[in-house]
Symmetry: C2
Subunit: 306 residues, 2 copies
């Protein structure tokens, strides 16, 4: 709620696997109102996507005839409307040109922002939703450099002049969870507060020994077994080891990389900033709500703002 | 069963996490009789270790007063008698000197073969059971070079003049299972026969991109998603990727490495031989029952063979 807000101009929806965020966006790109829901695309359980959307943003739609943009895993095979992937380089204009409109029951159009793909030597890489956040960051002056987006599948995104030019996905978060819950490594772990020393010890091992993750992970077992780290620190050691390994791999070919922008505000982002600092990189945080800024820039490039 | 066997001289027991093998061994080191059981140390469920052993090898013990050697995870914290780790270099004499005798109800002694540990930069490494197999291989003329022992936690062991001088553990097998069963990577996998082409494609990616496992694993999802490999081949692609990554990491510092000895006779060993060949290494198979040979050499070095 902003007391000097302009009139509403756009509704932006960031609809991911495990949650949904919707924004009422003003004519200057500012967020006027917002709503969040745990109804990610994997949690819709029998409801239609349209019914969920109508319930959440219905009050905004009723007021006016605003354009609606939706981005994220909602455009994947398991989502509402599957859209093709756009290719690199990719900016607001490219995403605007690839919007996929879909008419809903009340006659309004939902414009789906498509995801991005790139072909690397080892195989293809894909994203859905992150491209909109990265475009939004450029509205905040972050038009160049490396971005890291920590999460279940963290993304490293190279941006030049406001366009995405390269990106890679790291399975780090999901692998951490699978190892902790479903391997012998989890059996020695005990819950406690964050142990920064153990995290940094693990991050150092990951940064130094990055070619050897399959071996280094065994140390998550032997270190507490031999009394070298306490059991309450073991999960943080493994977290550091995996994040350090990721940082080393993602930056290995980088020259003159400049400050790295960390997207996110949670504890996980703090861990990435620690590991980046240990690896000798400067880092900074992206502002909140860059996804809404992305919706705004793409809608404006598409001529949807009237 | 060997029609020209000498008299029984020793009982050897290889007691691991998920199974147990016992051997009646002759005075020349040959295997006269053998028994296997799924009663690994994690499957004893209320029975005592002694009761299990008595049931399995009782008929042999009743005949004679043979010495008994036991090796494997049976000497770990969750086993029967916890023994300390021996240090490198380690051969038959070192293991003989570190035997831990334990008297059982019938007055017989079980001599426990202790495990081995080594301190690497990233943390300690440990083994229990594999040291006995490696010592046994030296009885077959395999006294030098690199050994790989594929499994849940595969071991790479450097041997010189019949002594273990270095080793490392790779979590590859357990990580494969956790990723297949408990991450999004498993959701696209369909069962079918072994797909060698997909395995080799994965192994090549692992050998080439070894610093980047956390990223390469994401391709296990994108390759079938984009139709680049069939869903029935996805598990074998991931198997190749992990084994290739392991082979690259384990051999990265090796110079003039010579033929690598693969311990094992199953499909997994075949996969390791394929990946080793792709990496340019010659390989050979260790004979069967080297663990019984190891029990024999250690018992002889300890003066237990009368």
């Amino acid at each position: 709620m902003n007391s000097v807000a302009s009139d509403p101009a756009l509704i932006g929806v960031d609809w991911g696997t495990s949650s949904l965020r919707a924004f009422l966006i003003g004519a200057s790109g500012e967020v006027i109102d917002g709503v969040t829901s745990p109804e990610g695309i994997m949690q819709v359980s029998g409801q239609s996507f349209e019914a969920i959307l109508d319930r959440l943003i219905g009050p905004w739609v009723a007021q006016t005839n605003l354009p609606i943009l939706a981005s994220g895993m909602i455009t994947s095979r398991n989502g509402w409307i599957e859209t093709p992937y756009a290719e690199m380089p990719l900016g607001a204009c490219g995403l605007a040109g690839a919007l996929v409109p879909h008419e809903i029951a009340n006659g309004a159009l939902v414009h789906f922002v498509t995801g991005a793909s790139i072909e690397h030597k080892g195989g293809p890489d894909v994203m859905r939703g992150e491209e909109t956040q990265i475009i939004g960051a450029s509205a905040q002056g972050l038009k160049d450099g490396m971005f890291v987006m920590p999460g279940t599948h963290s993304k490293w995104v190279q941006v030049a002049e406001g366009q995405i030019v390269d990106f890679s996905t790291y399975m780090t978060g999901e692998i951490f969870a699978a190892l902790k819950e479903h391997t012998i490594l989890g059996t020695l772990m005990e819950a406690d507060g964050f142990n920064e020393e153990a995290f940094e010890m693990g991050a150092r091992a990951g940064l130094d020994g990055r070619t050897n993750l399959l071996n280094n992970l065994f140390h998550v077992r032997t270190l507490p077994l031999m009394g070298k780290i306490p059991k309450v620190a073991t999960a943080d050691y493994m977290s550091g080891l995996l994040i350090g390994t990721e940082v080393a791999a993602a930056t290995q070919d980088a020259e003159d990389i400049g400050p790295i922008t960390v997207v996110g505000r949670n504890d996980l982002s703090d861990r990435y900033e620690t590991a980046l600092g240990m690896a000798g990189f400067n880092s900074r945080r992206a502002p909140d709500d860059i996804v809404a800024q992305g919706h705004f820039l793409i809608a404006r490039a598409a001529g949807l703002l009237g």
